[in-house]
């Protein structure tokens, strides 16, 4: 039995915006795998809910006009993982969201919910950061497009204005074409867990496969919100695909990240594995891109 004051079901995006305007205190609910848990815990007990779960136009993975990949915000993790577009262009995103919770959660949980929560541990978020994703936000004023790194404001807070909802995640062509990536989720068990640390890396190699033309790395749980590691990126960009580069890249991570010391994991432990994860994720990404690490 859930302590819910009222539930309004939106039939369309416009309807959702209208409901949110009529009920400014209302919480948006999609799959409910976070919101219902919070209600049960008492944190959102007695909430009014606007359900957007029935808005089918917000589901699915497609190409938009300029070959950008558009992921409707209600697309479930299992549908993302099964999408031919994701499997071809950004398989790492499918792999990352396949590590969320268990099968039931992946069937009900959505990428929009995962990002609008504003939590640092979201398995999709570090990969979206690493792929320069853009959040599409639709509200009374129309549509806004915000880079994912700006969408996250602080822990638990994202850039959603009153009566606005996230309608899609977009990954531009220039952000994915030629890139190959790897995501490592470090958790305390093999399933049904949140990340102790998540690390998503991707690379664009030069045509000879010897030089790292571009590299991007993002972490979850290395700070209050997901983050890129610019020092690490700078240490490897334009450098040869060699062990030395990988090591420099991994070490530089410590200049960027600032994980918490908490009962979930010690800061020293998180820093230790962050370096190792960067090393492994870059190595794997270079291999996936057809390169080889020179010793």
């Amino acid at each position: 039995m859930y302590d819910i004051k009222a539930l309004y079901e939106a039939a369309s995006v416009e309807d959702a915006i209208r409901l949110l305007q009529e009920h400014p205190e209302a919480q948006i609910i999609a799959g409910g795998s976070d919101v219902l848990v919070q209600i049960r815990e008492g944190k959102r007990a007695g909430a009014e809910l606007v359900s957007i779960y029935g808005i089918d136009v917000m589901r699915g993975v497609t190409y938009d006009g300029e070959d950008a990949i558009r992921i409707g915000s209600l697309t479930s993790f299992s549908h993302i993982a099964a999408s031919p577009i994701i499997r071809e262009k950004i398989p790492v995103l499918g792999e990352a969201v396949s590590l969320v919770g268990g099968p039931q959660i992946r069937n009900i949980g959505t990428i929009g919910g995962n990002t609008c929560n504003g939590v640092t541990s979201a398995d999709s978020a570090s990969t979206l950061f690493a792929w320069d994703a853009i959040a599409e936000l639709t509200g009374p004023e129309g549509i806004r497009r915000v880079p994912i790194a700006e969408f996250y404001i602080k822990a638990g807070k994202v850039d959603l204005r009153p009566a606005e909802l996230q309608t899609a995640i977009i990954i531009p062509k220039k952000a994915y074409e030629g890139y190959h990536g790897n995501y490592i989720k470090y958790a305390m068990r093999e399933a049904m867990d949140i990340a102790t640390l998540g690390c998503s890396v991707n690379v664009l190699l030069a045509e000879d496969k010897q030089t790292i033309r571009d590299v991007r790395i993002a972490y979850g749980v290395a700070g209050p919100i997901p983050m890129r590691a610019p020092s690490a990126e700078a240490a490897a960009k334009g450098r040869p695909a060699a062990r030395e580069t990988v090591d420099a890249f991994a070490r530089a991570v410590l200049e960027d990240i600032h994980p918490r010391d908490s009962w979930r994991a010690a800061k020293a432990f998180r820093e230790h594995i962050a370096v190792e994860m960067a090393r492994r994720a870059l190595t794997k990404s270079i291999e996936l891109a057809g390169g080889e690490i020179r010793e």
């Binding site: 039995m1 859930y2 302590d3 008492g42 007990a45 007695g46 268990g102 470090y186 305390m188 068990r189 093999e190 399933a191 049904m192 867990d193 949140i194 102790t196 009962w263 979930r264 994991a265 010690a266 020293a268 432990f269 230790h272 594995i273 190792e276």
Partner: protein, 761 residues
């Protein structure tokens, strides 16, 4: 013969089709919902409540606080048989609600409401004023002079201290040339995590109170509810339906007394108390964390000169099962690897933590973590092969324990080790994994365990059985021993079928224990039920058979000694002729106008024996050193549990125990905030119960030496599978990396610390 066969579970169809009714399924929808308010300080006193806002919530029926408890009936909670000797009774230190709070989560008030939402809303609106006292969470700090005291009459918070002294330790250590090996080994607080949280409901009927509860121990619940309410025990009726696991947590009386008391405070109306998972972790029972300190003095030839164990068991805030747990592990120490000079000091100590009680293994998983980790450390210290070192020192065949009179009749340890080694290809892997380098290394390790079935001679062992013959020749079987998911009902049916001589499907097990009608028994704990129940089933079955054959004599004029019951028929043994079916006999017996009899049998058997149940685990791991994690690749348990009554169910029992051992060894630990005593991870996300993907294929092997003291050659298998898994994993990691863990579990946090200290990362 049905015993020894993997017959289908008697409850299989109901369980897989979802027809089985558990406690919540039986509760009428008119029930009021009770929720408990728990203290938010770890040590102190409740001064006052402000209920004004909470009482305004629509649907709230009544809010009861510790100050509403007019008569204070302190009660014990351990699911032990009652002792009429006051010196052997469990400590009675609980009240249904308390103003003197001793851990973060203690029960101080309860809301009774018309539904769950109203109860939860009211709970959040109650304001409490406390007087706070300093608190202590560490077992050894709690023993220090000046530490916060939890209970009067227990100086230095020591609930009990027992010792074992054999030979002369101090003298023995003077022997020249001895190698001293010393280590500390600690196990964490873990919780049972049975799938069905504790739930009960209570309602008045006439002058009596009916309590339906998810328990392992209905007759004990009846006694304790009576004690807690201060009323005659016969006024309580306890019903135990099917339960979704217990693992020892439900071998304690949990909230049945509170629920019954709340029912009385609302005019006897039906009240349901369904404990959320978060509270199950904190406000039921946990497994004792035990810190062990072992010193061994060993000769270069691999024999022990002297050994010493100090065990500090963290009881948490109330006595519950108390020192029994630590004492069981301490008692195993001098037996598993006998040595002429031994000193053991076992302490059970109160701390401001959740209450520890029984949990699968009853002290032995903790003791084996210490003893078998230490055995590995000693072998390494003297350069001995760990297998050979164990074989050299393990309890020999013919060993008799002076207290329990248990005897090691067979070479069970070596037979189990042989079988397990073969199953996992130990010898090849042990050699292959020596002297590895690199980031990722494999290892293989073993641990044995000591266990004894049942509780004699410490406590009463009594079992009662009733058989009631039906017109069709089938019969009802009623036991005091309970089905808690382990398959007890099926094993009982198999034994009864064999003794009486009927097909197993002619035995109708009355699974539910209703204390008004079920035979008395103290129920599911101590891996005792198959062993113990076997005595009363055999005795009662023979009585039933005697009555049947007596009637068969009346009908057939054949001498009883020439008659037998075989597969549900009355058979003349001299020529094998079927004289009549048991159904024909039973119908005639019931409806005869000349000699009508209702054929039933009922008896009690007091068991005055007990049986060792030994075995081992071998585990193979892959350790990713830079990532500080171990992956379990293969694991095998081998048990000598005597003759198996049902091999398929025995295998399932071993799988379940191994799974609990994997969690205990690799991931589970309940954490507490040092600053407040607040539990930190009391939910199934943050408490790392292992998942399906954390398990390799679980292999179960058996050696079936018939147990001479047993009615069916069988002995305990409920808890033994959980006893040696964790140290085997720890020893496999040691084999892979050279780093031996002090503390369970072998999770990344502990591996990070240990690898750092060892300088390998």
């Amino acid at each position: 013969m049905y015993t020894g066969q993997s017959v289908k579970r008697v409850d299989a169809l109901d369980k897989v089709t979802g027809r089985t009714r558990y406690t919540d399924d039986l509760c009428d929808r008119k029930a009021y919902i009770a929720r408990v308010l728990h203290s938010t300080v770890a040590n102190g006193k409740v001064l006052s409540f402000d209920l004004s806002e909470a009482e305004k919530v629509p649907g709230v029926v009544k809010i009861l606080t510790c100050f509403d408890l007019k008569e204070k009936h302190y009660f014990p909670t351990a699911g032990h048989p009652w002792s009429t000797d006051p010196s052997h009774q469990d400590v009675a230190d609980r009240l249904v609600l308390t103003d003197r709070v001793r851990f973060y989560g203690d029960d101080i008030a309860a809301v009774v409401a018309e539904d769950e939402v109203a109860a939860a809303q009211a709970l959040r609106l109650i304001r409490v004023e406390y007087e706070e006292y300093p608190f202590v969470l560490d077992v050894q700090k709690a023993m220090e002079d000046g530490a916060p005291q939890l209970h009067e009459n227990y100086p230095n918070n020591i609930l009990k201290h027992t010792t074992i002294r054999q030979g002369d330790y101090e003298k023995a250590v003077q022997e020249p040339g001895l190698v001293k090996v010393e280590g500390w080994y600690e196990t964490p607080v873990v919780q049972h995590c049975h799938i069905e949280n504790f739930i009960c409901f209570a309602e008045k009927e006439g002058d009596r109170i009916n309590v339906v509860t998810s328990t392992q121990i209905p007759h004990i619940v009846r006694r304790i509810v009576g004690q807690a309410l201060g009323i005659d025990w016969g006024l309580i009726r306890v019903v135990k339906p099917y339960i979704g696991g217990g693992f020892g947590n439900k071998q304690d009386v949990l909230y049945e007394p509170l629920c019954a008391w709340l029912c009385l405070q609302v005019g006897g109306h039906l009240v349901k108390l369904d404990v959320p998972r978060e509270e199950t972790f904190v406000c039921n029972r946990t497994r004792h964390s035990i810190r062990n300190h072992i010193i061994s003095w060993v000769r270069p030839d691999g024999t022990y000169a002297a050994r010493k164990l100090e065990a500090f068991s963290d009881q948490g805030a109330y006595a519950s099962h108390g020192h029994s747990i630590c004492a069981k592990g301490a008692g195993a120490f001098p037996q598993l690897y006998p040595c002429p000079n031994v000193e053991v000091d076992a302490y059970t100590v109160f701390t401001n933590k959740p209450v520890a009680g029984a949990m699968r293994g009853y002290g032995i998983p903790q003791a084996m973590w210490a003893v078998e980790s230490h055995t590995e450390d000693v072998a390494a210290a003297i350069g001995a092969d760990p297998l050979a070192f164990r074989r050299q020192n393990l309890m020999p065949v013919g060993y008799v324990d002076g207290f329990s009179k248990n005897e090691n009749y067979y070479d069970s340890f070596n037979q189990c080790l042989e079988k397990a080694m073969k199953a996992i290809d130990y010898e090849r892997k042990e050699k292959e994994y020596r002297n590895q380098t690199g980031d990722i290394r494999r290892g293989i390790g073993m641990a044995v365990f000591w266990y004894n079935t049942a509780v004699w001679p410490i406590s009463l062992e009594s079992t009662s059985c009733r058989m009631v013959l039906n017109q069709d020749g089938s019969f009802q079987l009623q036991m005091g021993e309970t089905e808690i998911g382990q398959g007890a009902d099926t094993a009982f049916a198999q034994m009864a079928a064999d003794v009486v001589g009927v097909p197993v499907d002619r035995v109708h097990v009355v699974s539910c224990q209703d204390t008004d009608v079920a035979p008395f028994g103290t129920s599911a704990y101590a891996s005792r039920q198959t062993y113990i129940a076997g005595f009363s089933i055999r005795q009662t079955g023979l009585m039933l058979k005697e009555k049947i054959l007596d009637y068969a004599h009346e009908l057939t004029r054949m001498p009883v000694f020439n008659l037998d019951i075989r597969e549900g028929n009355i058979v003349r043994t001299t020529d094998g002729r079927v004289m009549m079916t048991l159904g024909e006999l039973a119908t005639e017996a019931l409806y005869s106008l000349t000699d009508s009899r209702h054929i039933t049998a009922e008896s009690t058997y007091q068991v005055k024996s007990n049986a060792y149940s030994f075995g081992c685990t071998i585990a193979e791991v892959e350790v990713d050193i830079p990532m500080c994690r171990a992956k379990l690749l293969n694991v095998v348990n081998c048990h000598d549990a005597g003759k198996l009554i049902n091999p398929a169910l025995a295998e399932a029992q071993v799988h379940g125990g191994m799974s609990m051992g994997i969690g205990f060894g690799m991931s589970e630990k309940l954490l507490f905030d040092e600053k407040t005593g607040r539990p930190l991870n009391n939910n199934l996300l943050d408490y790392k119960l292992s998942t399906f993907l954390d398990h390799p294929t679980l292999q179960a092997e058996f050696v079936e030496n018939p147990e001479p003291t047993s009615a069916f050659g069988t002995k305990g298998l409920g808890e033994p599978p959980a006893c040696s898994v964790a140290p085997a994993i720890r020893n496999a990691i040691f084999h892979a990396t050279g780093v031996g863990l002090r503390d369970a579990p072998a999770n990344p946090h502990n591996l990070f610390k240990a690898f750092k200290e060892a300088g390998i990362i």
